[in-house]
């Protein structure tokens, strides 16, 4: 039986709107419409093609469709419609400039990611085949490399809202740890020096919003804690 669901969606188009507003929709769901993204796609196809959001993989691996769903950041493609209270209120992820509707400008977010030198630094000549790494060393990277750069975490972090230009935010810090933790990386000291800054790292006040919302069940706070440990043990 067809089921209907109510949505209230943040709308803003700089071409035509002087300020944002909410628009209500009622979407009729088909039998395979299990996730919020299914409903949004249907809404766009059948009711209003101007509703704008990003999406691609529809399976939680590309990180495109982060949005604020009933007050909480998440991926539309992994959010069960069944779990949502109506009307489902959709906002852009907070703290970043809105381009249009649910589409935000992610420049600042990626800038912070780029700033931690997100690549393995190892200037030695490479062997013909792979470098060796023990399974134990490799295991250190589990729980970090799965990040899809969706920004659910950073845009739910109060410290990032206040200082998006100076505080790296949980996602970039998770990646900072990813390279510190990689036994192949040779730049531990430089990386720690770069992070040793009242803002870049130390604006994290362990509020844990980031852990709460990560759709990949990663734990940026733990990574941040490990970076702090590395700093301390370097001093002694």
């Amino acid at each position: 039986m067809a089921k209907k669901m109510k949505f209230s969606i943040y709308r803003y188009n700089p071409d035509t709107d002087t300020k944002p507003y909410y628009q209500d929709y009622e979407v009729e769901l088909g039998e395979h419409d299990k996730k919020l993204l299914n409903a949004l796609v249907k809404l766009k196809e059948e009711l209003d093609d101007s509703v704008s959001f990003r999406r691609s993989c529809r399976e939680g691996v590309c990180g495109s469709d982060a949005m604020n769903i009933n007050g909480r950041n998440g991926l539309a493609c992994l959010t069960d419609l069944d779990s949502l209270k109506e009307p489902v209120v959709l906002n852009p992820i907070p703290g970043l400039p809105v381009i249009r509707d649910l589409i935000v400008d992610m420049t600042q977010f990626f800038h912070q990611y780029h700033s931690i030198k997100p690549y393995v630094i190892d200037e030695q000549p490479m062997p013909e085949n792979e470098r060796l790494q023990s399974p134990e060393d490799r295991k250190e990277l589990d729980g970090v490399i799965e990040c899809i750069l969706c920004a659910c975490c950073s845009t739910s972090c109060p410290s990032f809202w206040w200082n998006p230009d100076k505080f790296l935010g949980p996602a970039a810090l998770l990646h900072a740890y990813r390279f510190l933790a990689d036994s192949r990386d040779q730049a531990t000291n430089e990386r720690l020096n770069d992070l040793n800054d009242p803002y870049r790292l130390f604006r994290c006040h362990t509020i844990m919003n980031c852990v709460d919302v990560c759709p990949k069940h990663l734990n940026p706070t733990k990574a941040i804690g490990k970076i702090k440990e590395m700093m301390v043990s370097r001093m002694v």
Partner: protein, 584 residues
């Protein structure tokens, strides 16, 4: 109307695995390059690849590239070009080692080497017994690879135009490619990108089907642009149906599940693949397994109320192996079906997965036109949008990620050589953007007609019904009539949203106008091929016919014309592998 013009030495269209590998080659060589991508690069669909990337390291048991080459030729059902296949298989270990050097976090064996798992059609000693050749990062290999390649490009300071969509190729009076037109989504502004060389790495087009493992953005733009520019697409009738798409959702369940020891069951609880492929069983080639599943379903041995799927059993592997090697699969299955594979089997159906055909290239990544394979100057292609013809009629699992890096690099090297031969890009033709602007103007002007969602759905239903796992003349004849009708309707497309800023309705409409080109090409090419080879299975012509059909299809959109060209039978250094019966 004149458009702003941006000038580069090289423009790479696509920021997936192939585009990023090519871009890296160019950036590191100091070629002034820009990479255009519809999405932030790590959002490309390479991120969804799960199972692995092939290379005959032999980390777990003896292996070598000759065996890999044999498997690829056989997997391709002898439609692959053996020079390209040799090139790819021989380069594989170097290419994958490079990925490791870029920081890709491969799983490891106790001795520190890259972990390798068995996969469909990967055999030792020229087809004798399964071999572990798929290098893996759990079941998230593509994600790890794409991020490592992006990260290396950050290091190389590659220049990106993110959320830009290429619209059309620009060719001059000699037919040489001198740039593209492109839409900057955020502003709605259209530009001419003028360049010495254009490299397409736009990925697949699985969205021509209703059920697909592909992302929304896999809309065949590169093929659409090439066809509109008068260039052909090769072997487009060959589409891979992956045996294990998640029932009802289309999301992929990797062959790595069977590599790790999972197997398929019909409604009687029978491990039916033993009947169809006594040696390789569940690890036979994908086309073989998909057909077997379809036969089981057609003959009433499907599972569930509708008897319309089979089951993939893996609970016997135990929670520990599943969590270590297949954590993503467990997550997907719980997320989309509420089924935990540690306890219950996963319902699966053959699902459209991969486009074997594409823009014809040689193994250097140069685009070639026509039966005599004339090089189209200034134009290069790599990855799923291209057809170097390594996959022929059926791709082996893990050979695509390999294709991306081997041919991405090779095409990058060809571009480097080519741009060195000139100081400036060849001159733009007059009215270089006229064609694009006319297409856009038509879409802007239309306020009624065919609604995007309707025509797109009709295309997908038509492909699903008329160009599926099994095909017949009657079904294909009807399919051609239907799809041409959809094509006609697509010329009357309209969208309501006419605004400039980040107009995703317009982007979807422009994407669809590419997708429909691919759909028509597929149906027309499939109708003519009266044999069964690889993924193209004709019930009315059940056998491979080498005498008549061991040749590549070339489809041109002008008049829906078909030509045929020879399969390359001269490998680069080894002996030709002659056709044989394909048994697994």
């Amino acid at each position: 109307m004149s458009l702003p013009i941006l000038k580069f030495d090289a423009v790479v269209v696509g920021g997936g695995g192939a585009g990023l590998r090519a871009a890296l080659q160019l950036s590191e060589a100091g070629v002034k390059t820009v990479v255009l991508s519809k999405v932030f690069p790590t959002r490309s669909h390479t991120a969804a690849a799960q199972g692995g990337i092939s290379a005959s390291f032999g980390n777990s048991e003896e292996d070598n590239w000759h065996w890999h080459m044999y498997d690829t030729v056989k997997g391709a059902d002898w439609l692959g070009d053996q020079d390209s296949i040799e090139f790819m298989c021989k380069q594989a270990t170097e290419a994958v080692a490079e990925l490791e050097h870029y920081g890709m976090p491969f799983d490891r064996l106790e001795n520190g080497k890259i972990y390798q798992r068995p996969f469909g059609g990967h055999m030792a000693e020229f087809g004798k017994k399964p071999v572990r050749r798929a290098c893996a990062v759990a079941d998230r290999t593509g994600h790890a690879m794409l991020h490592a390649l992006y990260q290396r490009n950050v290091k190389a300071q590659t220049h990106f135009f993110v959320e830009w969509m290429a619209l059309d190729l620009i060719r001059d009076k000699d037919g040489d490619v001198v740039g593209v037109t492109a839409l900057e989504m955020e502003t709605g502004q259209v530009y001419i990108i003028h360049a010495k060389a254009v490299l397409f790495a736009t990925g697949g087009s699985g969205r021509i089907y209703q059920a697909s493992t592909n992302a929304f953005i896999n809309t065949g733009d590169g093929v659409g642009m090439a066809l509109r520019a008068g260039l052909p697409v090769e072997d487009i009738e060959f589409w891979q149906f992956h045996p294990t798409g998640l029932y009802g959702a289309g999301v992929l369940i990797t062959e790595g599940v069977r590599g790790e020891g999972g197997y398929l069951l019909n409604a009687n609880g029978e491990r039916f693949m033993e009947r169809y492929a006594p040696t390789a069983k569940d690890l036979a080639s994908r086309d073989v397994v998909s057909r077997a599943m379809q036969v089981e379903i057609n003959e009433g041995r499907g599972c569930g109320a509708g008897k319309d799927h089979v089951l993939l059993k893996l609970d016997h592997l135990g929670a520990e192996v599943i969590d270590q090697r297949l954590p993503g699969i467990r997550e997907i299955s719980i997320q989309f079906l509420g089924i935990d594979p540690v306890k219950q089997p996963i319902p699966v159906v053959p699902t459209c997965h991969y486009m074997m055909g594409g823009i014809p290239t040689n193994y250097r990544g140069e685009v070639i036109d026509g039966v005599d394979e004339k090089i189209v100057k200034g134009f290069y292609a790599a990855g799923e949008c291209a057809c170097a013809s390594v996959h022929g009629a059926n791709r082996l699992g893990t050979n695509s990620l390999l294709d991306l890096v081997v041919f991405g690099k090779s095409a990058g090297n060809s571009v480097i050589e080519y741009v060195k031969t000139m100081d400036e890009p060849k001159e733009l033709p007059e009215n270089a953007a006229e064609f694009t602007l006319a297409r856009l103007a038509k879409l802007e002007a239309a306020t009624s007609g065919e609604k995007l969602a309707d025509v797109r759905r009709d295309m997908q239903v038509c492909m699903q019904q008329h160009a599926s796992v099994f095909r017949t003349q009657k079904v294909l004849d009807e399919g051609v009539a239907n799809i041409l009708d959809v094509y006609k309707r697509a010329q009357n497309l309209y969208i309501d949203d006419k605004s400039k800023v980040f107009n995703t309705a317009r982007v979807e409409a422009l994407e669809f106008l590419n997708t429909i080109e691919v759909a028509v090409a597929t149906m027309v090419a499939a109708r003519e091929r009266t044999e069964s080879r690889g993924a193209h299975a004709r019930e009315d012509y059940p056998d491979r016919n080498d005498e008549k059909w061991m040749k590549h299809t070339l489809y041109y959109s002008n008049g829906n014309r078909l030509e045929y060209k020879e399969v390359h039978t001269k490998p680069l250094s080894v002996d030709y592998i002659p056709p044989a019966k394909r048994v697994y």
